[in-house]
């Protein structure tokens, strides 16, 4: 059996919704043992978000929770209760990594901030993923996923639209930004783990969602200090590519290189307007963008996504059909790469979901366990790992500790 890249790594997750859980899912998928802590009774916030089978909400049937929590073990623990926090500290002493997402004022209040935790376990890496990070005047502000996306300047650039900026800025669809923060947190956590394996020391990994998302538009944002330009949603693209409506959907066309533009002209059947000498110059195409765009748009409307896509790629220029979930799940490319995987879940039955965004040849991704039901691994962790008796477990349940 192939080895897992993080086979010996122990992670405790005290986080919910998307960012923190996605961060630790990325580690769990590489073979780390992740113990996820959920609030007794209600559990992770993502359990109350869809998709649910037939759209009927049920805390054990959330597709979102499933996707974000595969390969983890789940326990319930009341962190509002001092006895709960005592157990938490025991778990921490065994761990390499804690992933948490609480407001700094909350971890401080509970004595579970980095300074306290590192005293309990000097090897511990504490990855905190919060809207504004652990320091600074905004650190305890409240922000949901909509707010974090807009806090970073990414919203102000979205959508890219030609008519201008009369309408409101948007966040990307789904929970894209929150996932991104989890991914960025996971990179830093793996880096910190590398240092820990060499020097034996843990450290704090402070992830501000604002900063993580701002890094995704840093090139655009730094134009302000360097050029005095505030980029906005107005989209001036033209000479190098654009998005067009075609017969049966939308096409993104990019002709960044001259030979790509020439290939495009060839694909369009060398129409008269396009073989005009002047159109060979990108500067001219930029200047006469409106006319160019009308001509291209006219041609696009006569063809289907698939015709344009495959023919263009054969000629060597970058065309992509705008694909939705159905297109992607059913595409030959996804199938050949086995990008979607299937697994059974105790309450939902068979689920088909994206596997991993990488193919590692020696330590491949594998689905080892389905997402945990609420408190599914209480007995395993509390009794077998921490040495509580079944009776004590019952007492903790009735005392509201778990």
């Amino acid at each position: 059996m192939p080895k897992k890249a993080l086979a010996k790594v122990k992670v405790v997750e005290w986080a919910q919704f998307v960012s923190g859980p996605y961060c630790s899912k990325l580690l769990a998928d590489l073979g780390a043992e992740v113990i996820k802590i959920e609030k007794p009774g209600t559990g992770d916030e993502s359990r109350r978000r869809g998709p649910f089978p037939n759209d009927i909400p049920h805390p054990e049937k959330s597709g979102l929770f499933f996707y974000l929590n595969t390969n983890k073990r789940g326990i319930t623990l009341n962190m509002e209760n001092p006895a709960g926090r005592k157990i938490f500290k025991e778990l921490i002493q065994e761990a390499d990594i804690l992933i948490e997402d609480h407001q700094p004022k909350v971890t401080e209040k509970h004595g579970l901030d980095y300074q306290n935790l590192i005293r309990l376990n000097p090897r511990l890496i504490v990855t905190s993923i919060t809207p504004f990070g652990q320091t600074g005047p905004l650190k305890d502000l409240k922000a949901y996923h909509l707010n974090t996306y807009h806090s970073a300047g990414l919203g102000y650039l979205t959508p890219q639209s030609k008519p201008g900026t009369s309408r409101q800025p948007l966040a990307a669809g789904g929970y894209f930004g929150e996932y991104g923060c989890g991914l960025i947190g996971a990179v830093a956590t793996l880096g910190a783990l590398h240092a820990q394996r060499i020097n034996g020391r843990g450290q704090q990994v402070d992830i501000s969602k604002q900063e993580a998302l701002l890094s995704l538009c840093m090139v655009q944002a730094s134009r302000y200090p360097n050029e005095g330009v505030v980029q906005n949603r107005f989209h001036s693209q033209g000479e190098y590519g654009d998005i067009y409506q075609c017969k049966d959907g939308h096409i993104v066309e990019m002709t960044n290189e001259e030979n790509q533009w020439q290939a495009f002209v060839e694909l369009m059947g060398n129409p008269e307007w396009a073989i005009d000498e002047r159109y060979k110059k990108p500067a001219f195409r930029k200047e006469h963008y409106k006319e160019l765009n009308r001509n291209i748009a006219g041609w696009m409307m006569e063809h289907t996504k698939d015709e344009i896509y495959h023919e263009a790629q054969k000629l060597g220029f970058a065309v992509a059909p705008v694909m939705n979930a159905e297109d992607i799940v059913n595409s030959e490319q996804s199938k050949a790469r086995e990008f979607f995987s299937e697994a059974d879940h105790a309450e939902m039955g068979r689920i088909k979901f994206p596997s991993a965004p990488y193919k590692l040849s020696a330590s491949p991704w594998a689905m080892e366990r389905s997402a945990p039901l609420l408190g599914q691994h209480n007995e395993e962790i509390y009794c077998k790992r921490l040495g509580f008796s079944l009776q004590e477990l019952e007492d903790m349940k009735s005392n509201g500790i778990m």
């Binding site: 890249a5 086979a7 990325l26 998709p51 979102l64 996707y67 600074g136 996923h145 707010n147 806090s151 300047g153 919203g155 102000y156 979205t158 900026t165 309408r167 409101q168 948007l170 669809g173 996932y179 991104g180 991914l183 990179v187 830093a188 783990l193 590398h194 394996r197 704090q204 992830i207 900063e211 993580a212 890094s215 995704l216 538009c217 840093m218 090139v219 655009q220 944002a221 302000y224 360097n226 050029e227 998005i243 409506q245 939308h250 096409i251 990019m254 220029f317 970058a318 992509a320 979930a325 992607i328 490319q333 790469r337 990008f339 689920i351 979901f353 965004p357 990488y358 040849s361 330590s363």
Partner: protein
């Protein structure tokens, strides 16, 4: 003393453009030594032009794009279209831990620099291949740039106004692909620490985007539902949008989740009559009538600046954050206290501001240690010090356009 989290790791970096270069820049922020292999025969296009704005740069050293996504790196000139160039590339790989490349799948193999070939040179090499559609499958040779990745990955189709076209995604697509690559490389470094084995990483930029939309795909496979564009709308929260404020193109994002937040919001804005309207009494009602609700909320926000709305509502426990523009982000006291912007000196362009590494590591801080390299800046240094070439040999190779 260098104490980066990845100190001691060396990268032979054949990558270019945004999606390749940023992956190795992140490794460099953590202390890895990144040697970027460049050539006049095929310069990194970000040294020449900025596709996002159409700007063309006067020399290879003046691009603000290149100079932002290649910090901390060393640059050597090496022409991969010459046999001797391939030999030198292999020698460089033989003393490296990681190789990264994002050429069209098949190109590195044809050059004799594919994973199997480089494994012969360095058995435990970690080899990142990143491409638009991945290095296997019927579309493996297809190419793409950031907006294509957004289209392939699915995010374009769900980003935009309800009545608008799919969104033309930008550089953030490249950077997500790059960050995913960085993640996989460090994972492979951990695997090598345990087993001594290297490996090949096949990264599809399209999949790196799709992975961040898991629930969107499950909605389809579970319910045959194809999610569409819905502006800023949320599945359960309302109000949940950006509202116009005082000023030109100024906006506040407000998201209300609980009854407590809703009641506090109503009280804070002075409980106007509409807040008692039955249409808005439960969360479900507010979700159902949110367009009307949005208009009413905006009648209030329009009287204030985004900053004022944030302060008023945050005090009341309501999540309100401005949709910041780059000027506000650059001047932000919060980001400045956290040292998120750095001014650095570049030998050609002079002082310029860059964005600091996106994570704060307390014990092994991620750092900007040098400005982006001039084209081929470290050619002589690296051939002499790392590969032991003499000055005469280097000159001869330059004449032969191997070092070019």
């Amino acid at each position: 003393m260098d104490n980066g989290a990845l100190s001691g790791i060396r990268i032979a970096d054949f990558s270019w453009a945004w999606a390749g270069s940023y992956a190795t820049e992140l490794l460099g922020f953590m202390g890895a030594e990144v040697i970027k292999i460049e050539s006049m025969q095929r310069p990194d296009h970000t040294r020449l032009r900025a596709f996002t704005t159409g700007q063309v740069f006067e020399s290879l050293d003046q691009s603000y794009v290149f100079n932002h996504i290649n910090l901390n790196k060393l640059s050597i000139r090496l022409n991969l279209s010459k046999d001797k160039g391939i030999e030198l590339a292999k020698r460089l790989v033989s003393i490296s831990d990681v190789t990264a490349q994002n050429m069209r799948p098949g190109v590195m193999d044809r050059l004799g620099l594919g994973y199997e070939a480089l494994k012969q040179v360095k058995e435990d090499i970690i080899y990142l291949s990143s491409s638009a559609r991945g290095s296997i499958g019927p579309e493996k040779g297809y190419i793409g740039y950031a907006p294509n990745f957004g289209a392939f990955g699915g995010i374009s189709s769900i980003t935009g106004y309800t009545d608008g076209p799919p969104n033309y995604m930008r550089g953030e697509m490249d950077l997500i692909s790059a960050i995913t690559g960085t993640f996989a490389v460090i994972a492979a470094i951990h695997h090598r620490m345990d087993t001594g084995e290297g490996q090949h990483i096949d990264l599809s930029s399209s999949e790196s985007i799709s992975a961040l939309m898991g629930e969107v795909f499950i909605d389809y496979t579970m319910n045959e539902k194809i999610q569409v564009r819905k502006g800023n709308k949320d599945e359960v929260m309302a109000p949940h949008n950006c509202y116009r404020c005082k000023g030109n193109d100024k906006w506040i994002s407000i998201a209300i989740s609980t009854e407590e937040e809703w009641n506090s919001f109503c009280k804070t804005i002075g409980s106007p009559a509409w807040t008692h309207d039955k249409k808005f009494s439960t969360g479900k009602d507010r979700l159902q009538n949110q367009e009307e609700l949005d208009g009413l909320v905006e009648e209030w926000t329009i009287n204030y600046s985004p900053r004022e709305v944030m302060e008023i509502l945050q005090k009341a426990g309501v999540a309100a954050i401005p949709s910041f523009d780059s000027e506000e982000l650059y001047k932000s006291s919060h980001l400045n206290e956290r040292q998120c912007w750095e001014e650095i000196e570049h030998p050609v362009t002079g002082k310029h501001t860059v964005y600091a590494p996106p994570w704060k590591l307390s014990d092994t801080p991620a750092k900007i240690t040098r400005s982006a390299p001039l084209f081929g800046e470290h050619t002589h240094q690296i051939y002499q010090e790392l590969l032991g070439l003499s000055e005469e040999e280097i000159e001869r190779l330059e004449e032969e356009k191997v070092i070019y």
